[in-house]
Symmetry: C2
Subunit: 450 residues, 2 copies
């Protein structure tokens, strides 16, 4: 049986697909966090290069990918599409399971897909350093790699819980020449403030974003870079879904259901957005399911409302599903999924009913990840494994019904830097978290009122 | 510029290439460690399956690869050949540098190429468990993966210095369902004996092999499995070089010089052996250079003589380059290169002058690895990086001479589990070792006298 569908490097897409051009309901504009009036391009120039601001605000359907960016993407792209033949056999399912594996990138995840163009545009506009935050470390690694390839410096604020549990992530960033700090850090005013108020905090993406934004805003040669949520990030990730469509053409199958993990939103939207026109124009009966942790169930339990993108209230106010900008999720092992909000583009499509969401406990996620590793070989990142569990459930259901569904898993990265989490699972030390309804209620009471 | 040369999974070789058929000087037979008389097939049956014994003794040029083995190899093979365009640019060299990357396997190195067939043949002959040793952990990971895919149990004796410095390696083996013990362990008589005599020993591959052989020989349902040195291991690795020849055909280049790291010998011979007939029959002017650490310089400083394969003198006595079977190399960061001997097939070709060798200090190796990571993206395993340093030197020399040489690096694996070693390098804590001539002299005085 053919199990690997490869594309030649010439087939890396030449354009990014902008789903904003095809949205049934237009996006509401982002707001200036100070005035709560629509954000202007100038507002953003303190921390972003002009080319990315233009992409952020664009509603053009197709946007050219610079040739210099494609050259670097060739280092690992196109990524392979796999038929999960061994997993299917273990599950005794008539379903066909496919997965596209982004862990072949040097940083081990899909994150370089946007890190590379972001570093490129900043370099082009004369910026010397990028500041960013990272949850699990996937994004920090990716930006470290990208900045070093374009000769920029890089400062990464890494959420404390991950900084402590994933020591090798910061070692990797160091190999690529970046500086990695535990957040909250003593490098920024906001970091020092939080350390004083909450000395034992596990940190959060919201806090780390505030630190990186403050760093960028207070240094002329420095810009800020974000690995999820923003429109231009999701735009860059659409090379995934475009490749995937070509690869599905090679299989002669078409997915019935697509699963991808979802934190702030980058891998999942990148994979599914290019299928949105099929659903809208060709009326394809395709389910797209965003998979999130029960400890931070933004799409399944959050409110669709305007909220700050960060904890300090320095980042733009955006219309999204949110659990409130000062909600700090428990320190689960899928650190990359601990964000209080979700990308506006994705939130909008969920609100319009085109995309679904589901939430999972970490124990069941690691159980699924282990079965995957023992059949397909690859040890998935805990984040990615959130997409495996519901795919396995779907396949087991097909065993009952006899349906030969085509199930797709977006495998966003490997778990080589997450093995202490697997140890915790194997030692029976993983804790499952109930949705902290009361905390979220308190947090949602503090939403801005534009 | 085209930088990635991919083959379809159907192009995975259907036969292994046995260099024994083309050796200018025939191999001397392995000896029974008790009697020092030529080893018989029966001698080996206590610890190996019949199919592998047959391959071990075969002089057939081509040996069929079972279809079930090829099916599993498809999970990551064929591996990509890269043009190192960014590295060339950084070196301002007219040379062309290529590397074939085996780190795309789920275990992160070339080792599954033989682990898969070994597990397969043992499963076919009714064996329930495999015992093995591992240096850096690459081989232990690979066999853990292979045994779990074929439903076998696995016990790994991991050299203590690596066990302590690479904690995530054992976590990975555990994900794949294997048991990993620090060697010398208290599980075997030999291990207990060493622990009593040398409580602070960093361990060695020779000791760990003795433990695994003792475990296998004393349990009926258990066989022993080795990741380098033996003829059948090198045989299985020749899929690498066969793929590489097809890939070089795609580039329209042909290598002038090939570099590969060499411990006991598996990745390097697997990559270069299929080029031996070009050299012998077509008189190709091709240099093949085995790269080893100065701390364990078997090919560059050892004796070509009969010696025990392990420290206890339980493994077969083989004709090879050796530093003496009780030589314990310093605990360098390239744990996979700390073996006192070298594969008989490889040793024979080195002795006949067809293959060269060079030795490197670990600091210069990590410096080269860091330049590689910052240009090509991939963080190499410390072992693999031994091949990068002399390739860079060769390319720099071409800058002086203006030669457009074609330089090949065998990149055997990634360094995701070796990041504490990179930290040691970045912290300036790496120690360079002078060749311990006196120790080796003492050790060589104890060679068996057949």
């Amino acid at each position: 049986m053919k199990i690997k569908y490869l594309l030649d490097e010439e087939e890396i897409p030449k354009k990014w697909y902008n789903v904003a051009a095809d949205m049934p309901t237009p996006l509401k504009p982002p707001l200036n966090p100070g005035t709560l009036k629509p954000l202007t391009a100038q507002d953003m120039e303190a921390i972003f290069p002009k080319a990315l601001i233009q992409q952020e605000m664009s509603t053009e359907r197709w946007i050219d990918i610079p040739e210099e960016v494609r050259e670097i993407l060739k280092l690992w792209r196109p990524t392979p599409l796999y038929r999960a033949a061994s997993l299917e056999k273990a599950l005794k399912t008539p379903a066909k399971i496919y997965y596209k594996y982004e862990g072949v990138s040097p940083a081990g995840s899909h994150k370089p897909n946007t890190a590379i163009p972001q570093a490129y545009y900043n370099m082009k506009e004369g910026i010397e350093r990028l500041a960013t935050e990272t949850g699990a470390g996937q994004w920090g690694s990716a930006l470290s790699l990208a900045t070093c390839l374009f000769g920029l410096q890089c400062t990464v604020y890494m959420v404390r819980s991950s900084f402590d549990s994933k020591p090798y992530r910061k070692s990797a960033m160091r190999v690529w020449g970046a500086e990695c700090l535990s957040s909250p850090s003593d490098r920024t005013n906001f970091g020092r403030q939080i350390r004083e108020k909450m000395p034992d905090t596990p940190g959060s993406l919201g806090i780390a974003i505030s630190e990186a934004v403050e760093d960028a805003a207070s240094h002329d040669n420095t810009n800020y870079s974000l690995g999820s949520v923003l429109n231009h990030v999701l735009l860059h990730q659409t090379i995934e879904g475009q490749e995937l469509k070509k690869q599905f053409d090679m299989t002669e199958d078409y997915p019935d259901v697509m699963f991808g993990c979802c934190g702030g939103g980058s891998n999942f939207p990148g994979m599914v957005f290019p299928f949105i026109p099929d659903k809208l124009k060709d009326k394809k009966d395709l389910r797209m399911v965003a998979c999130e942790p029960t400890a931070c169930p933004t799409l399944t339990e959050g409110l669709f409302a305007y909220d700050y993108g960060d904890t300090a209230g320095m980042a733009p106010v955006i219309m999204m599903y949110t659990l409130g900008h000062d909600f700090i999720p428990p320190g689960i092992h899928a650190g990359g999924l601990r964000y209080h909000g979700d990308a506006p583009l994705l939130s909008n499509l969920v609100h319009d009913g085109l995309i679904e969401a589901t939430a999972l406990q970490q124990t069941e996620v690691f159980e699924a990840a282990t079965l995957f590793a023992r059949t397909e070989g690859i040890i998935p990142a805990p984040e990615s494994a959130h997409a495996i569990k519901p795919a396995i459930d779907e396949a087991l259901n097909c065993r009952k019904t006899g349906e030969e569904k085509v199930i797709f898993i977006s495998l966003s990265g490997h778990g080589h830097f997450d093995l202490s989490s697997y140890d915790a699972y194997n030692d029976g030390k993983l804790v499952d978290y109930v949705y902290p309804a009361e905390l979220v209620k308190q947090s949602l009471a503090k939403l801005p009122k534009p």
